[in-house]
Symmetry: C3
Subunit: 337 residues, 3 copies
């Protein structure tokens, strides 16, 4: 499946790289000299050492394994190794870094570790169409052109599937999200924005912006339509991305499952470049969903330890406003099955 790993702008120029964990593998994502993004298993072909152990960095022209100095160019090709000339039978392409499929979309790098990846259109884009009704509704926000105004990383002691289930329903909103239901009063009824195709939850009458206290936000994204103004849209792209659209910013979550009961969540708040460059105060804007995140993750952590209880062996109950989670359960069982 497609896995959203890195904000493209974090790979500013050729040689910039990030390392990310995808399942149990370490993946090295970088930008080639052509400007294209590349991703490789972060494993030297010679004896298996980790090519780069840092989370991010920058090389000039090559990745050199620090163990025996095998050297690969930014396209992954083996270009040098001590005594390489004496090893006539060593094919430099065959012994290049093992490539991973890459796509860029929404200004993020998505990778797929499968040899034969599913169609990005059928998998990722279809999830958005299914939710919003049409792709151009997200295009209006021109997400690739936005800039990261804030990034917060959460280390959650819960399985990633609990975090998805939590994000998909709003039956819990009235109980644990007082600030959010203040801004989006219809959330108090328990129906998530993603329950109805194309629906965005409307701001309350007194609400001026998607902020912690309902005060005005920052500059509105120009492409946002009249319909989309004063509304919040949430999209789940299985297995690990949440996109949240509001008139003046986009909040994008990437989940990295680290263990059966641990998930790292990286959350980006994206604004118009002028807003970020202008140094506008983003605190009230960021605080609203940061608080939602903390409330949600605490609920997931409270749920995780009981998943092995014999009383939960057959699962719980899905109330009417949660029935769509059943589809997620079927999706999971299909993939495991």
């Amino acid at each position: 499946m497609w896995f959203c790993v890195v904000r493209s702008s974090d790979l500013g120029k050729p040689g910039a790289f990030k390392t990310v964990q995808v399942g149990t593998e370490s993946i090295l994502v970088t930008r080639a000299r052509s400007g294209a993004v590349r991703a490789f298993y972060n494993v030297c072909r010679h004896r298996g050492a980790t090519i780069r152990t840092e989370e991010s960095g920058e090389v000039k022209r090559t990745f050199q394994c620090p163990y025996h100095a095998w050297t690969y160019d930014l396209d992954g090709k083996l270009i040098a190794a001590p005594n390489l000339t004496k090893m006539a039978d060593l094919d430099r392409v065959e012994y290049g870094l093992v490539k991973v499929h890459v796509r860029e979309w929404l200004g993020y790098v998505w990778v797929c570790l499968a040899d034969d990846p599913p169609s990005f259109e059928d998998d990722v884009l279809a999830a958005v169409t299914e939710r919003l009704g049409a792709l151009d509704l997200i295009d209006n926000y021109d997400v690739p052109s936005l800039e990261v105004g804030r990034r917060i990383v959460y280390d959650v002691q819960a399985n990633w599937k609990l975090i998805i289930e939590n994000f998909m329903e709003c039956y819990h909103c009235a109980t644990i999200h007082p600030e959010l239901t203040e801004v989006l009063p219809e959330f108090a009824d328990g129906y998530a924005a993603q329950y109805f195709v194309g629906h965005g939850a409307e701001f309350g009458d007194e609400i001026q912006g998607f902020t912690i206290d309902g005060s005005a936000g920052v500059d509105r994204i120009p492409g946002v339509s009249e319909d989309q103004d004063r509304r919040y849209y949430a999209i789940t792209i299985k297995p690990q991305v949440f996109v949240n659209l509001v008139p003046d910013h986009v909040i994008l979550h990437r989940m990295f499952p680290m263990a059966v009961d641990r998930t790292v969540v990286e959350c980006d708040w994206l604004y118009l470049p002028g807003v970020v460059a202008g140094g506008k105060d983003l605190d009230k804007s960021v605080e609203l969903f940061h608080r939602v995140n903390e409330q949600d993750f605490e609920a997931c952590e409270r749920t995780q330890p009981r998943m092995s209880s014999r009383t939960y062996a057959k699962g719980g109950v899905l109330v009417p406003s949660e029935h769509h989670i059943g589809a997620f359960h079927e999706w999971v069982q299909d993939r495991i099955g």
Copy 2:
């Protein structure tokens, strides 16, 4: 099997609760409005969140799950949930908290997680009769009426079965319990108080009370018979309770197995209410068995890591004064089947 979890007086009034770990399950023990004790799996029926994460606390009338606000009364019945009225088909009793069998005895709450629990009489009471010869010998101490003068919790890096074996034999007493054998000279011979039916180990001639230095104890429990005065009785109630009877107090151990090599032991020192209320100095009284506990648990921790040695694959040797431990081994193997 029956598991002794909470001192009844720790649930002072309706709504007081404690959470305890029984095997891998979290159990919520509370007192209903009728005054009866109730125990439930600490798991919300809706989506499996932990109802209460604290060790103890008090609610007014209900337990409300903090995730989606499903609300249960003190008898476990589901009495409220957001939009519950719209969920006609949801049976409020069927979706109440899952109950656990409960008994009170000796002033403690005992629970059993089996659907069909064994007879409390055949299981728990029979263990006492088998040891003392008759139940009224323990009734003399009127344990329910006593109060907790001191509670110490030990975190032992050893399997619970090693702690039971240790408690059952006194062959180690001369080696590691100098203070105890001073008070109970016959323990130096290695025969535990529980080796002979009905036998209680006699205090030494110079000993005035069951204290660290043999000085006088506090007020004697009125029901203690002439025979029982100046004697120490020890009872093992498998799988996790030890009861120790001396003329002026009762020491009761509850073991909570946390992992294959870790056991939490809660030990209560119980005295006459007047003794506790009067603020009498209990230090010398408590210190004797506290030291015995520390000596025993250190021995168990020293033994635990070698249990996987190939030289111990067939076990060790039971000397004559330990032969009754063989019956415990058979009992364990029977249950594992």
Copy 3:
């Protein structure tokens, strides 16, 4: 297999002991009254307690288990236990500590946990002969007579097999060992000292001694031959010993595998007794291989986490100068077989 555990001189006199971990077992190594070295499972025959929990110490005449006071002499025979006289049927030899096979060589104690150990000559000595061509080449260094000038213990987060593979090849030397290749210029070519039978790597022309800066070392070991002077020899004795010979000292590594991804390495620097007694400054001498150790172990730790990558499932590539590592792989697979 034979496992090198303790420097004989660390067991200075009868009753001195060390405890070491060999696989998952704890082994007690001591010196008997006769002066001979003995090794036992560190497990009481009675109920399995650890006889000694310290890393090293000294007893007068016996090992007494602190749990029930079973007492063994320095040859492991059961000589006392409470009430032992009443236990007529308890054979004191049969219930002695379980012995482990012992050999002394190079001034170290080697143990073998197999009931029927392989020939020390075929196993350990043959490894040296195979490497050096003849045993007397190591005898020249008279290793038993040397003294420990420095001991450093490394806790390496890598499997022991990675450490062996690293030690066996020098293809990495040019990349990670600048100081070592300065002293031994031929190492820059990537051929390890152990690649050719009997070959020792020659010091560089300007090099006066095996020190961090090439300055003169300390007193030369008298038996070292003309041929061996100004040369470095490395020997791998599988599964856990490395011996490094230079004219004025010997460096001996013992590896203790602690977990699948953790190995403790004890490294001794051995010098002539007069050098150690004379208080000569050994820092420059020790620093060279200490730095090599740190460089090697960092490389192993960088490699360990990728061993489970699917791209490494079939292993990596062995270049010509590493082909002898293939024989190690076969040896491992034979034993697992």
